[in-house]
Symmetry: C2
Subunit: 225 residues, 2 copies
């Protein structure tokens, strides 16, 4: 890696994970809490979020809340909801998310008998849809290609993968790179502008196909960086 | 990796590289020739192909020919032309390419002041366009994300990267994986069906953005496989 800028200080920030009761959201929350960060899990059902948070007590400080309360509490807000509810949720939280760094982690995928495939998204990608719906937020895409199975497994100590961080706001992408860097083995890397988010989201379909063929929990490393 | 099938024998096959006078084509031809394979470079101008082939004589057996003659000679035919001429070239070689394994390596990208971006392709991807234009060929996508700079540099002994091989014909994808495996450091890996080729082609835009940010020649490794 070339000379990195000094890492932003994350210790005073709260990380919110909307849709945090699914495997990917729980897994990311587990890893951030284990790194000592303050984490709030959000769900449509606050009680469900509290139950999921209680299940992560072994990892660190995680509390549960409604998605709206979690969005209000978070300085960095990860969006880890199913693609089906993506636009609706973000529209409903426009005020809560204004001014914040919003990290879209959603992969618009379909599945049929032949396996996974990338859905066409009118805005280009889930991340660009978020940017269009949240004009007052600082939208970044990241954490698309990380195995939920590995994230959730407390016996896995290191997640050996690079997290491609997409965005047009340099301070926001730097911050999200440093968030990825708190997880042992994980490396945050600038991956291009928002308009190049689609293929990173869609690549998850390839990783699922690879997982099926090779019985793996595939991730991505970028070589020569 | 899970137990691999026995590698197909490539030593009796000829590898043709259409559009082989550009950096990517020359670089791939160099690596295959260095591995002892029989290589034919194709170009619209046979003389130009012969000149480019002569420049690779230090690597191994490479000869130059017109694209049509190279397509006729090749058992495996790589397509490494600019996206602009992709459809036209393939349409003109439909007969020569019938029955053959055709490996599409083309990345439909645009560039503007903000850098690289993926173009929308009506058929979904360059590889799917090739499959549509060549119904009698066995079309596979591969070698999209390999740095031409590294391929062309004779002082670089190993190319540390995975080559995602996309296709619906298992014997053809296995063959192309074994072709990638002849290059030291390179590993051929099944990457999904043809319908998931777009994002692998488009990911090259992200790798170019990464190269610019980190002053690198980025490639991809898949972890846990």
């Amino acid at each position: 890696m070339t000379d990195p800028a000094p890492e932003p200080d994350l210790s005073s920030l709260t990380i919110a994970v909307l849709g945090g009761t699914g495997p990917q959201g729980r897994g990311l929350a587990r890893r951030f809490a284990a790194a000592g960060l303050d984490v709030v899990l959000g769900s449509r059902d606050a009680q469900r979020a509290q139950d999921a948070a209680a299940g992560l007590a072994d990892a660190g400080r995680v509390r549960g809340a409604s998605n709206a309360d979690a969005a209000t509490a978070g300085d960095i807000v990860l969006v880890v909801v199913p693609w089906d509810g993506h636009a609706e949720l973000l529209e409903s939280l426009r005020d809560e998310l204004a001014g914040k760094v919003v990290v879209d982690c959603v992969n618009p995928l379909g599945f049929d008998k032949q396996g996974p495939y990338a859905l066409r998204v009118k805005e280009g990608s889930a991340t660009e849809q978020a940017a269009a719906l949240l004009p007052e937020s600082r939208v970044v895409g990241a954490f698309h290609n990380v195995s939920a199975v590995l994230l959730e497994d407390p016996t896995v100590e290191r997640i050996e993968t690079d997290v491609l961080v997409l965005g047009d706001d340099r301070a926001a992408t730097d911050l999200v790179q440093s968030l990825a860097d708190v997880v042992p083995g994980m490396r945050g890397m600038y991956g291009g502008r928002l308009r190049n988010a689609h293929q990173v989201e869609a690549l998850t379909a390839n990783l699922i196909a690879i997982n099926r063929r090779y019985k793996a929990h595939a991730g991505v490393r970028v070589t020569d960086v």
